[in-house]
Symmetry: C3
Subunit: 139 residues, 3 copies
């Protein structure tokens, strides 16, 4: 992974074999990012995305392997109890172009990933919401 | 729904039972947004997306119910005849990770929706284009 | 195609019959863009998206025709050997809402395309990576 910061924008390249969420965390900690939006494209050969069943308050996950192009990756970096937090959703197309996605648990880069992080001057923390069962934005 | 504005960036949380387009409108009116780009992730259990048939100049819609993760939500806030306008496309993955989407007509939040709105200092209005049958950007 | 620049943000409309990548290039050259992130929505009736098979170092492509709504279009404009370069991934939903996508090779607009380009004050060039077989970000 390598990246470069231009004022409040970071452009990053994640490399073959690297996991996306781990590398978002590395950049966020190195650059002391408290709040940012994230988008990316790339290629992955192994990823797990979740779907949340609200009535069960539980995530179910789907794992995909093969040649996939990441067609959308969107979300935020922020904090929970002032510690790093990121929440990303991703979708990717297989060799027929069929797209699969959800809440990103894990994605291994197969070729490259090109990410743009827009740092926001501010802070939004999270709290655990008992009714929803998730960590939500706290304003 | 709650949100916070940081200079020209708004970070918002939409809550269970709320409809996305209605809440984009609330924020745009409250903050007097004339032009902005929008992106979000979240979870929905009931959404309708359209597909436009250009030769018929008509939208057809597909309705989806169940546990879905919003994997992409992108578009703009601008104006038509100086009044609020928003145009959003969305896609979401079901419990198998299969992704469905189109022109966003309506989406009810099931868990949370996390949105980032980037306000642009400027204005772009819309006009009704007779040939296309849609309201297009007017420069 | 028409567009307007507001400081470091460009809002663009691509019209029926126009190809997306060609028009991104036109804007980038006219505005001397060296680095930017790109997002868009729209409608296409003819597009080709690729999937890269890393072990073969080869792109395979899927072509789609019909009424499609572009639900995600994300990527960057930058340079390779100081010349214009763009790398975009796209996904689009058909008349049933089923979403297909990958590395964007070509997409013809059927109704309209609404694009936002965020220009980044900086430069990132590319190099050909022998191991991966692709042109990657060089920092």
């Amino acid at each position: 992974m390598e990246y470069k910061r231009f004022e409040n924008t970071i452009v990053a390249r994640f490399d073959k074999g690297e996991e996306i969420l781990e590398n978002i965390k590395k950049i966020a900690l190195a650059e002391d990012i408290k709040l940012a939006s994230v988008s990316a494209l790339g290629a992955t050969n192994d990823f797990t995305v979740g779907v949340y069943k609200v009535d069960e308050k539980k995530y179910y996950s789907n794992e995909f392997k093969g040649n996939f192009e990441i067609v959308s990756l969107t979300g935020t970096i922020n904090t929970m109890n002032d510690e790093f937090y990121t929440h990303i959703h991703m979708s990717a197309g297989n060799d027929k172009g069929e797209v699969f996605g959800g809440h990103l648990n894990r994605a291994i880069i197969s070729a490259t990933c090109e990410m743009v992080i827009n740092i926001i001057d501010g802070r939004v923390d999270r709290y655990f919401d008992e009714e929803i069962g998730l960590n939500l934005f706290k304003f």
